[in-house]
Structure formats: structure tokens, C-alpha cells
């Protein structure tokens, strides 16, 4: 079976983010970009399904500027088979991404779409569910275990209060959570070979998808920092402070 894995390029979570002076965005000049952490887990899971003989072909798709190519090549080096870059330089939201991904899905003979539960930049946690609804497919979100057999996926989901296991018929959409797997590193020789894998560049126009965004980011700010309090030297002093100052005991 063929699997579609949408991925997003995001700023490295380890860098200290700086806002543009007018608050219209973050400074991106010269920053390090990575594959969205949760999408990387989806790529890894797709590769593991291929290694088990369940998946036969892994197709990546991403939306963004030409620079996204490097992230797609990284995922190809991990073990995906081919990549589609939907070249788009303007703003995008989860809604736009979901419309584009749905069109790509319709053009291939895919049995599953697997992607991260959220992007670590916008933290919206929407795209997988939006794609599923658009295609009227069942969804299994926040996956910590995925088993595919007999035309269905059995997925353990991380939900409030515990774990839930659901069985969804294929084709379906799966969104991946942190504990599904530990992604492998792409080895250097594979990074070289990845440049030779099939790589298609298309546009939103060619998919018949409009570039409209529904969610407009009007401005960004940093939350007011919390001030450090004081050190206490003993449990006794802590208990007295909680009783007399903070009055929470």
C-alpha cells in the first residue's frame, strides 16, 4: 500500500526565537530549520511499516518556499521514496495545507495519510483532522501505536485519562504523537543518495487550490516573563512561606 506523509519545515526548537521589531513575525534570517518533530515521527513510522512489508511506497508532501527542499531531502534520506513540494511563498494556515494535501491524496492511490499531530511552530493541532474531514475519511489522532492489517489500522491513542485503542478502515488519516517511535538519523551517504530520488515541484494552482488563508496572524508578542522568587534554605522555611506568605497551605 502507498502512504502519503505530509511534513512541515519549522524553526529548530532549540534556538531562541526573536520577534521582528514590528511583531509581524519571527526573525528567520540565518536560523536553523528542522523537520517538524511530530512529522519526523510520522516519517519514521511509515518507514517502519515499509520495513514490515505493510507499506510499499512512501510519498512525502510539503508546502512552502524552495528552501523546504532540504527538509524533504532529509526525510528522503531517512527512507521515504519520493517527494512533492508545493511551492508557495505566501502565508499558509492549517486550512490551506489541508486543502492542498487533500488534492494530492486524490491524485494518487493512497491507503493512508500519516502526519504529526501538530507543528511545533503554530501548535494548531488541526491539519490531520481537517484533511480527514475534507476527504470524508476516518481519523486516528494522537497515535502511540499503529498496527495495519486486514484493510484496517488499529491505533492506540493518547487521550486525557489514559489510552484508547480504535480500529479504523483504510483509507484513513493517522496523526502521530511523541511516544510512537524514536526517529532514526539520516546517514550522510543516504543524504547524497536522497538527491537522486524522485522530487516533484508543483504549485497550488496546478492542484486547483486557492491560496486564501482564513486565520490571519495580526501580531506576535512574547508572554510576560514570570519573575524568579527566592530560595529557601530548609523544608521548615518552605512550609512557613507557603503558610504565611503564599497562604496556600
Amino acid at each position: 500500500m502507498k502512504i502519503l506523509v505530509p511534513v512541515k519545515r519549522v524553526p529548530d526548537w532549540q534556538i531562541k526565537l526573536k520577534l521582528l521589531p514590528d511583531g509581524s513575525g519571527i526573525q528567520t534570517d540565518g536560523i536553523k530549520w528542522i523537520l517538524n518533530t511530530f512529522d519526523e515521527i510520522a516519517v519514521e513510522e511509515a518507514i517502519r511499516l515499509k520495513e514490515k512489508g505493510v507499506v510499499t511506497e512512501i510519498v512525502l508532501v510539503s508546502i512552502g518556499p524552495e528552501e523546504v527542499r532540504a527538509r524533504l531531502e532529509y526525510a528522503l534520506a531517512m527512507g521515504a521514496d519520493s517527494a512533492i513540494l508545493i511551492k508557495h511563498d505566501g502565508p499558509a494556515d492549517s486550512d490551506l495545507a489541508s486543502r492542498a494535501i487533500a488534492e494530492v491524496f486524490k491524485k494518487g492511490d493512497y491507503s493512508m495519510i500519516m502526519l504529526g499531530k501538530q507543528a511545533i511552530d503554530s501548535d494548531a493541532n488541526q491539519t490531520a483532522q481537517l484533511v480527514a474531514a475534507r476527504l470524508n475519511l476516518p481519523q486516528a489522532c494522537f497515535a502511540s501505536k499503529v498496527v495495519v492489517e486486514g484493510g484496517a489500522a488499529t491505533v492506540t491513542r493518547e487521550v486525557d485519562g489514559g489510552l484508547e485503542t480504535i480500529k479504523v478502515p483504510l483509507p484513513c488519516v493517522v496523526s502521530t504523537d511523541l511516544r510512537l517511535n524514536e526517529p532514526r538519523y539520516a546517514a550522510l551517504p543516504n543524504l547524497m543518495k536522497a538527491k537522486k530520488k524522485p522530487f516533484e515541484v508543483i504549485t497550488l494552482d496546478s492542484l486547483g487550490v486557492s491560496a486564501d488563508v482564513k486565520v490571519r496572524v495580526r501580531g506576535l508578542s512574547t508572554p510576560s516573563a514570570r519573575k524568579a522568587g527566592r530560595k529557601v534554605s530548609s523544608v521548615q522555611e518552605l512550609v512557613e512561606a507557603l503558610q504565611n506568605e503564599a497562604k496556600v497551605l
Binding site: T156, D160, E164, R218, S221, P223, G229, K231, Q236
Partner: protein, 328 residues
């Protein structure tokens, strides 16, 4: 006439406290988004009493369905029913708690209503824009939803639970006839297993005291030996850092952080947690923060009101004893 539809999340008829926070957000949105009324929809076993109860919180009307389709939460039928209720109540906005259920179902509702979604909102501005965290809470964005239909999930810790006030009396069953696909749809998922963590302590998301343990505990046994009694002395819920969860010291749904639960109790006590950004994003809005860690340079001390630099294995049991002594 246009309304805001509140998704009433409940367990067997008992309304989640977070639903009341979502209602507060709905009340704040009502003016700027020019809605006339707030209405509700409850689904699943006990939905009728949950809907009835919410009428006393100022809803002008409430719909419910206890149809067998909704026996267990599943994204596909729940989304269709919520969208159906939105159409029947002329709702241009749907609001839900940003629980794992709310996060799972609302985007599907957005597609069915051709709406735009703002996730996990933490504030409403007078001009109708909303505030929401991005980049693991390091940045707050002001966003506008520039379409007629909108859906919103609400971070419960950012809004006080709504208080009771007079409301409507119309509590009626949702007619499913309006969406034939609900009964003809063979492609819904089915729930085949469920593993609930032990729940003899307060629910993490709305506990007034949370005691969290980190990697420094060193093992699941130590986590149980040190964190459990301290939490029970305070009558607290138990949380954990991602490192502690990944190491198997605590179950997944105890994880506090941007990718786990976001909490804001009156008192948050961290034991052996260094304070990665990811973790701080999940607890920095707590009213009083206590940190116990033997590393004086741990980032957790930069946001803690009271820091105790000490060996947790010595001081945590001592704190447990002292608190038990005060309580008895």
C-alpha cells in the same frame, strides 16, 4: 439571530469543569462576534442531564442525543452531530474545551461548517481577535478569523469556570434525520480498547494542587515512593516531566508540558525537574510554584516562587511529614 454553540463535554452526564471555562470564553466572544445567544449540544450516555444542567449556566437552549451512535466518543459521528446542531441552532460559532476530545473533533466540525479554527485560545480581545500560544508557549499570537463561520478550542486554565445564571428552559433531543450520512456511513472508526489510569486522585487538569516528579527520581519505584505520598499529603494531582514519562516512571497522561497537559493550579510543586522550556510551557501560569532540585542552576528556579536546592530524597519525605502534621 445568530448563536454560539457550546460543545458540552461530560462523563456520564457529569459536566467537565473545563466546559464551564469554555463557556466563559464563549460569553467573552458573544459581544465582539455579534452573537445573540449561547446554546449547547451534549452527546452520549447522560447527555440529557448534562444539557439540562448547562441550562442553569445561562444557555438559551440545549440539544442532546443519547443515540447508540454516540455510546463512545468517535470523531466522525460526533463531528457530524455537532455540525448538525450548529445548523439547527443557527450557530455561526462552535466553542469547545481544548481537551483531547475537543482537539480531535473540532477541526472536523470546521470542515463540515466551512469554518476557520483558532486552537487553544487563552484570551479574547474587544475587537474580536483572539490570543493563542505558539512555539510551545514562547510566543503569543493575536489572530483573526476572517470568515463568517468559526470554531474555537479553549485552554481551560486561561478562563475561570462560568458561574450559574438564569437561562432558557428548552432542552430538546437532536433529530438525527437532518444528516442521513450519520446512519449510512460505514466508514466510522470503532473503539476496541480503553485503558484508564487510576483515578483515586484529583484530575490533573483541574486540581488545585499539583505535585510533579522528574527524571531525578531515577526509577518508577522512587517516583511512587517519593511523589505519591507528597501528593497525597497535599490532596494533589500527580504530574510528571516528559523525561520522567519517557523513562517509564509515570504514565503518559500525567505529562505536564506543551505536548502534554497544561495546568495552572494554585500550588505547583516540582520535584527533581530541571525545567525544560517544553515543561515550563505547561505549568508557568500556576499561581505559586515550588521547585525542589539539587542543581542550583536548574532553569526551573528562574520561574519558581520558592526554590529549595537540596537532595529531593531527603527533603521531599520531610515535606510530606510536615504537611501531614499540619493537616492532622
Amino acid at each position: 439571530m445568530t448563536s454560539i454553540l457550546l460543545y458540552i463535554q461530560h462523563v456520564d452526564g457529569k459536566v467537565l469543569k473545563g466546559t464551564l471555562s469554555a463557556l466563559t470564553a464563549a460569553r467573552e466572544l458573544k459581544g465582539p462576534w455579534k452573537a445573540d445567544t449561547i446554546v449547547g449540544i451534549a452527546l452520549g450516555p447522560g447527555a440529557q442531564s448534562a444539557a439540562q444542567e448547562m441550562l442553569s449556566y445561562g444557555l438559551s437552549s440545549a440539544r442532546y442525543s443519547e443515540d447508540a451512535l454516540f455510546q463512545r466518543y468517535r470523531a466522525e459521528p460526533y463531528a457530524r452531530a455537532i455540525a448538525l446542531a450548529a445548523r439547527e441552532t443557527s450557530a455561526s460559532t462552535v466553542v469547545a474545551l481544548a481537551s483531547s476530545t475537543g482537539k480531535d473533533v473540532l477541526p472536523r466540525v470546521a470542515v463540515l461548517l466551512d469554518a476557520a479554527q483558532a486552537s487553544d485560545i487563552i484570551g479574547v480581545n474587544g475587537d474580536g481577535s483572539v490570543r493563542r500560544p505558539m512555539y510551545a508557549g514562547n510566543i503569543i499570537a493575536e489572530v483573526e478569523l476572517s470568515v463568517p463561520h468559526r470554531v474555537v478550542t479553549v485552554r481551560s486554565t486561561a478562563f475561570a469556570p462560568a458561574l450559574q445564571e438564569g437561562g432558557g428552559s428548552e432542552c430538546s433531543e437532536l433529530s438525527l434525520a437532518g444528516d442521513p450520512e450519520l446512519h449510512e456511513q460505514p466508514r466510522f472508526g470503532e473503539v476496541v480498547g480503553y485503558e484508564i489510569s487510576k483515578a483515586d486522585r484529583p484530575e490533573l487538569s483541574d486540581a488545585s494542587v499539583v505535585v510533579s516528579g522528574g527524571r531525578a527520581l531515577g526509577s518508577a519505584e522512587n517516583f511512587e515512593k517519593v511523589v505519591f505520598p507528597l501528593a497525597d499529603a497535599f490532596g494533589a494531582a500527580i504530574g510528571a516531566s516528559r523525561a520522567a514519562v519517557d523513562s517509564g516512571y509515570a504514565p503518559n497522561d500525567w505529562q505536564v508540558g506543551q505536548t502534554g497537559k497544561v495546568v495552572a493550579p494554585n500550588l505547583y510543586i516540582s520535584v527533581g525537574i530541571s525545567g525544560a522550556i517544553q515543561h515550563l510551557a505547561g505549568m508557568k501560569d500556576s499561581k505559586v510554584i515550588v521547585a525542589i532540585n539539587k542543581d542550583p542552576d536548574a532553569p526551573i528556579f528562574e520561574i519558581a516562587d520558592y526554590g529549595l536546592v537540596a537532595d529531593l530524597f531527603a527533603v521531599a519525605p520531610e515535606l510530606t511529614e510536615k504537611v501531614l502534621g499540619l493537616r492532622s
